[in-house]
């Protein structure tokens, strides 16, 4: 009999895992509490950025994932709005220049095609960038994708490969007998399976708590602004050095809000302007002062945007882990239970490689990547006392 696998969560990670599992000789059931891309994957930006990753495991995975993205539209036979337009990180002062210069050297040493550009050079690439921007780093390997399209495309391709998809079925219990997973209890009945993989992002902690396990994934809220449609004016991903600092800050003080600029233009013409990072639980309220702080940074970097209309803001909850690395692992104490979650702001960039590795992990195949940095038990507090 075929191995039967339940995938919990139909965001970009869960749909990717379901798709790559569907290419194996297993029976796959994708279970989702709401709808495809209804959570974090439908409330994020669209960057597949390599130069924003630290040299080490995060960058290694991102590079592999970026390779898969190049061929993904063809493989899935769907338009994902993929665009390999490069990316830059804007440098506003000498301190940022020093930090990023060092970073570029480290990234070049592992083969990433990244370099420093002068203010003049970046304004030749994009004449709208403010004269106050000193310099920028440039990486031609950075790309963009529409994350919602990608989640829907993975789900459609999985469905074509006979994956059963249960939307609006919330998993309320993990069924376990003698430390072996037996399946899941959903709001629409029980589903029995040999293996279960949790791809439920910020909601993973809640599910694990029901079986007295814990995981340090915390929702980190990010606000993004959407403008009216504009003629093409930005052709690549643009971050500010301050954004990167906000992303990587270890400070868990809930009163700290990191705000930096992350800007890109969608295929439809709207600009997506981020972003903030704050720990406020699952409070979705978008505060006026955060919108104002993001808008100020956008206009400072791109003075032409002063007259551009803002039409919407939204908040997404990114699954943050203490070491900024995702969890891709089996759960040693329960046979057959796996996890692929905790990607924070890298879920879009890492979805394809996560899907491929998770499919191999669940079907117990050899994996040529060292998964030690992503292990579930790397955190000291996995058991609820």
């Amino acid at each position: 009999m075929k191995q039967k696998v339940v995938v919990i969560g139909a965001g970009i990670i869960g749909t990717a895992v379901a798709y790559y599992l569907s290419k194996q000789n297993v029976e796959v059931i994708l279970v989702e509490a709401k709808d495809i891309a209804a959570g974090t994957s439908g409330a994020c930006d669209k960057a597949i950025m390599l130069q924003s990753k630290k040299v080490g495991p995060a960058l290694d995975l991102a590079i592999q994932s970026a390779m898969i993205y190049k061929e993904l539209e063809q493989e899935l036979q769907q338009d994902l709005e993929y665009h390999n337009g490069g990316g830059m990180i804007l440098i506003e002062n000498q301190l940022e220049l020093n930090v990023l210069q060092e970073r570029v050297k480290q990234q070049q040493a592992v083969g990433l095609k990244v370099k420093l550009l002068s203010g003049e050079e970046i304004r030749r690439k994009n004449p709208h960038i403010s004269k106050n921007i000193l310099a920028a780093t440039w990486c031609e390997e950075d790309a963009e994708i529409n994350p919602m399209h990608t989640a829907f495309a993975f789900a459609k391709a999985a469905y074509k490969n006979n994956v059963q998809i249960h939307l609006h079925s919330e998993v309320v219990e993990l069924i376990i007998r003698n430390n072996q997973i037996q399946g899941v209890q959903t709001t629409n009945g029980a589903i029995y399976a040999d293996s279960v993989i949790l791809c439920s992002g910020v909601w993973t902690k809640h599910l694990l708590n029901t079986i007295d396990l814990d995981i340090p994934i915390k929702p980190r809220k990010g606000v993004i602004l959407v403008t009216e449609k504009l003629p093409r004016m930005i052709d690549c991903n643009i971050l500010s050095g301050a954004y990167l600092a906000a992303k990587l800050q270890i400070d868990n003080d809930p009163s700290t809000v990191g705000v930096g600029l992350a800007i890109s233009q969608t295929k439809s013409g709207t600009l997506l302007i981020g972003g903030s990072r704050e720990f406020v639980g699952f409070d979705p309220t978008v505060k006026g002062e955060i919108i104002r702080a993001i808008a100020k940074r956008a206009v400072a970097a791109f003075p032409i945007l002063e007259h551009t209309n803002l039409i919407r803001s939204f908040a997404g909850f990114r699954p943050h882990t203490p070491d900024n690395l995702p969890i891709l692992s089996d759960i040693p104490s329960i046979h057959g239970l796996f996890i692929a979650a905790g990607h924070e702001g890298d879920g879009v960039a890492l979805a394809p490689i996560t899907g491929q590795l998770a499919a191999k992990l669940v079907t117990r195949q050899n994996i040529d990547v060292d998964l030690t940095p992503y292990r579930f038990d790397r955190f000291s507090t996995n058991t609820v006392s």
């Binding site: 609006h168 009216e228 978008v286 206009v299 209309n309 803002l310 039409i311």
Partner: protein
């Protein structure tokens, strides 16, 4: 009838809306994410009630729980004015 324009801002016709419901959308959000209806300049002010009616007719969902999340700004505002 099929080419009836439902969302003017994004140019989404009835056929696409019905197709999204066929493919599993059961909410205004679900239709929006599949078709872009309601994502444009007016943010669904005109098409959202129509989507709600269509969903009620096709999948029988409760129209009161179908409201799109209200998000700032209430009306478009210039970035420079913030």
């Amino acid at each position: 009838m099929e080419d009836l324009l439902i969302c003017r801002c994004e140019g989404v016709c009835l056929a696409k809306i019905l197709q999204s419901i066929n493919e599993g959308a059961t909410s205004v959000q679900g239709v929006k994410k599949r078709t872009r209806a309601g994502m444009g300049y007016c943010q669904g002010r005109t098409c959202q009630p129509i989507l709600r009616d269509l969903l009620k007719e096709k999948v029988g969902t409760n129209s009161i729980t179908q409201l799109q999340k209200a998000q700032a700004p209430v009306r478009p505002i210039r970035l420079g004015d913030l």
